[in-house]
């Protein structure tokens, strides 16, 4: 499974929606339930799935899925 697919699976789990399809340009406004509350849950879900940690600053910083993937790659995820 590619990093993209794994990330997509985490999104589907967190938002409990199998129909979510991620693009690098996907932002919070594209996913109905992705509010600030769900964002923290999402970050938690990504951290526990990939076994990495974001900095508190990164939590707030991500603007789209492309950024998120780049950060995961930088942290050694594949």
């Amino acid at each position: 499974m590619s990093l993209h697919d794994r990330l997509e699976a985490v999104f589907q789990d967190v938002f409990d929606d199998e129909t979510i399809v991620l693009r690098d340009t996907t932002t919070a406004s594209d996913i109905e339930d992705w509010d600030s509350l769900a964002h923290i849950t999402l970050m938690y879900g990504i951290e526990s799935h990939f076994g990495i940690q974001f900095t508190a600053n990164e939590f707030a910083e991500f603007t789209n899925v492309g950024d998120l993937k780049q950060s995961l790659v930088d942290k050694g995820c594949r």
Binding site: D13, V14, F15, D16, D17, E18, T19, E32, D33, L37, I40, T41, Y44, G45, S48, F54, T55, A56, F59, A60
Partner: protein
């Protein structure tokens, strides 16, 4: 919610949805406690076809599986999105007053409460307004009739300096602040107050030195928690968050990033644990605590089967295994001391089971600790029902503890009101498993409780059982039992010799043939030999039954017929007879003869031949003999039989 709307949106036909549910159920078939993801798959598939009852049931299983935050959150959302979920029998309203963000905890708390049978409506006070909400007489806290007011502060709510010259006054001032809030709430509402004590962050600035400075913040904070407990008394319930943080590990409980980005003092990873414990305390306040623990004997209170190995042979008190069972008994004994009623439900010889309690030197639990004693060979569902009746307790007050997954499944499916624990394999973790269930969290401890327990003590009532045929037949069918029946072979001979050498209870003649004699039987063309292996949905029991019969003309005479007690009450004896009849017909016999030689252990099978349809032939003090004329007879419908076995299949039964 998306959950319910998304399925039709995908354009799935109803037959596709049915199939999705069948697939999801297939993946959890035979699994006692499925991974949360699999339970959620079932729940989601069930909600797609509108079966809200099934969806709820499976979503709630997530709570039992583990404390994974993402799964809990999904389960909570899923249930919240159902149009008509079944409502638990108790409804309660709770006001949640926190010092930080409460929105992460709320759905998990509702989920955990529902698992405990409570439909919990939660009102959240606005962010960090717990003082205003309490003090303002016009606040929404006093609009509604709340049953519970939950005060959930984190350490940021404490104002204690790094060091105080007057630590007693500082601690008292902090304590007073909470006590005044409690007083105000109880003056204005009839709600029960539940207070979280303060989880103390690790890495105190004063380090080890701080623990011997009365004025250090860490010492003062510890005393604050103690003082909260003292002042709470009977009026306020406490949730020991400091203890929970230690349980899960403070580095897991505290994650300062969440404070920074979400004003959330408890990390998301620890929230399911906090929710479960809070729900348990709320359940106790609402009178939903369990009152009675019903416990199996063999391999639950001690290691091994007492009917086979005798009182001297069980693992108890010595060695790692024996000490694990002793520790579990110690824990159960402590439960009785705090007011939980202890009852025994076991398939066993009653006299032998009683003498374990009376005579084994390492038993911690004695007959005086036992309120009801349901020991027989009948189904445990009947035993539990009778225990409930005799103690005048509801089935929903009972918790069943048994090492055998098949018994647990039987009770789960036929007595859904009874809470059934999934015990781990290792007895070292039995006590922990019971404790972690939080089912015996009680709201108070008074002299009344101690007296109530005394009133049950020493009863050790014998519970007489009758067969309830309907549930038993269902049980057998649900077990999906399969037997392999085959003549003796070299490969299985050692295990056969072992069974012949040690089986006591289900043994008609107790003839201890040697390995060499058994081999002679195997090679003798005029002797019919057979063994049976049995497996069911849950377990492969291995080789568990042995039968030897010698041919004398048209009569086939049973020399040995025995069965391991782990499969007694599974109808395997009927299948063995079916096969013997088949063999007898094949070699031209018309009659089967059986003999019962009584011993002080095998009273269980005194009546076996009568039950199998034999007619009595004669009786002396030493033996009874029986005969069966071979004719058309119904065969056992509960066990599927394979009469050959792939060569080389290893029998790993010890």
């Amino acid at each position: 919610m998306r959950v319910t709307e998304s399925a039709p949106a995908q354009g799935r036909s109803s037959s596709e949805q049915e199939r999705a549910l069948a697939d999801a159920l297939g993946a959890v078939h035979d699994v006692e406690l499925p991974a949360p993801k699999l339970s959620l798959d079932v729940a989601r598939a069930a909600s797609a076809i509108g079966d809200d009852e099934l969806a709820t049931r499976w979503a709630l299983r997530v709570v039992d599986a583990d404390d994974d935050y993402v799964s809990w959150n999904r389960a909570a959302r899923l249930i919240a999105g159902l149009t008509a979920p079944p409502l638990p029998r108790v409804a309660a309203r709770l006001a949640l007053l926190g010092t930080g963000t409460t929105q992460y905890l709320t759905p998990l708390l509702r989920l955990a409460a529902r698992r405990r049978g409570i439909d919990l409506a939660i009102w959240e006070a606005p962010f960090n307004t717990y003082r205003q909400v309490v003090l303002d007489p016009k606040s929404p806290l006093y609009d509604d009739e709340f049953d519970i007011v939950l005060l959930a502060p984190d350490d940021s709510a404490m104002s204690l300096p790094l060091f105080s010259e007057q630590p007693d006054a500082a601690v008292e001032a902090e304590t007073e602040r909470w006590a005044r809030l409690w007083q105000t709430i109880s003056d204005r509402t009839r709600a029960r107050i539940v207070q979280c004590n303060i989880a103390l962050p690790p890495r105190a600035t004063f380090g080890h030195l701080g623990s011997r400075l009365r004025g250090s913040r860490q010492t003062m904070a510890q005393r604050l928690n103690l003082r909260l407990g003292e002042l709470a008394g009977e009026q306020v319930s406490l949730i020991d968050c400091e203890g929970l943080a230690a349980l899960v590990g403070k580095d897991r409980w505290f994650d300062d990033r969440y404070r920074l980005v979400a004003k959330q003092a408890v990390s998301l990873a620890a929230l399911p644990l906090l929710a479960r414990h809070t729900a348990a305390v709320v359940a106790a306040e609402l009178g939903l605590a369990k009152k009675c623990v019903v416990v199996d004997l063999d391999n639950t209170l001690w290691g091994g089967e007492v009917g086979e190995v005798g009182i001297e042979g069980v693992a108890l008190g010595n060695g790692p295994e024996g000490e694990a069972y002793s520790a579990f008994q110690d824990y159960l004994l402590e439960l009785t001391e705090k007011g939980i009623v202890f009852a025994v439900c076991s398939k066993n010889d009653e006299e032998l089971a009683r003498s374990m309690f009376e005579h084994h030197p390492d038993m911690r639990l004695r007959l005086r600790d036992v309120a009801a004693f349901a020991v027989s060979w009948e189904p445990k569902t009947d035993g539990i029902r009778r225990i409930a009746e005799s103690l005048d307790l509801g089935l929903d007050a009972m918790v069943f503890v048994d090492d055998n997954p098949a018994e647990r499944e039987l009770v789960r499916s036929h007595l859904p009101e009874v809470e059934v624990l999934t015990l781990p394999d290792d007895p070292a973790y039995f006590a922990r498993s019971v404790a972690d269930s939080l089912l015996f969290e009680t709201g108070s401890y008074t002299s009344e409780d101690a007296r109530r327990v005394d009133s049950y003590r020493g009863r050790a009532q014998s519970i007489q059982l009758e067969r309830s045929a309907t549930s038993l037949d269902d049980f057998y069918r649900e077990l999906d039992m399969q037997a392999v029946v085959a003549p003796f072979d070299d490969f299985h001979l050692p295990r056969i010799a072992q069974l012949v050498g040690k089986t006591n209870q289900f043994n008609l003649t107790t003839r201890r043939h040697s390995l060499a004699t058994l081999r002679d039987f195997m090679e003798d063309p005029s002797t019919v030999t057979m063994f049976a292996r049995l497996e069911d949905r849950f377990t492969d029991h291995g080789l568990v039954a042995v039968l030897i019969a010698a041919r004398h003309g048209s009569i086939l005479d049973i020399d040995t017929c025995l069965m391991s007690c782990r499969v007694i009450g599974r109808t395997l004896e009927h299948t063995m007879l079916d096969e013997l009849v088949h063999q007898a017909t094949r070699i031209g016999c018309t009659t089967i003869r059986g003999t019962y030689l009584p011993t002080d252990r095998n009273g269980l099978v005194a009546d076996l031949y009568r039950r199998l349809g034999f007619r009595p032939l004669g009786a002396t003090d030493e033996a009874t003999s029986w005969e069966l004329d071979i004719g058309d007879r119904p065969t056992n419908e509960f066990i599927g039989v394979r009469t050959t076995e792939k060569p080389g299949v290893r029998d790993v039964t010890p």
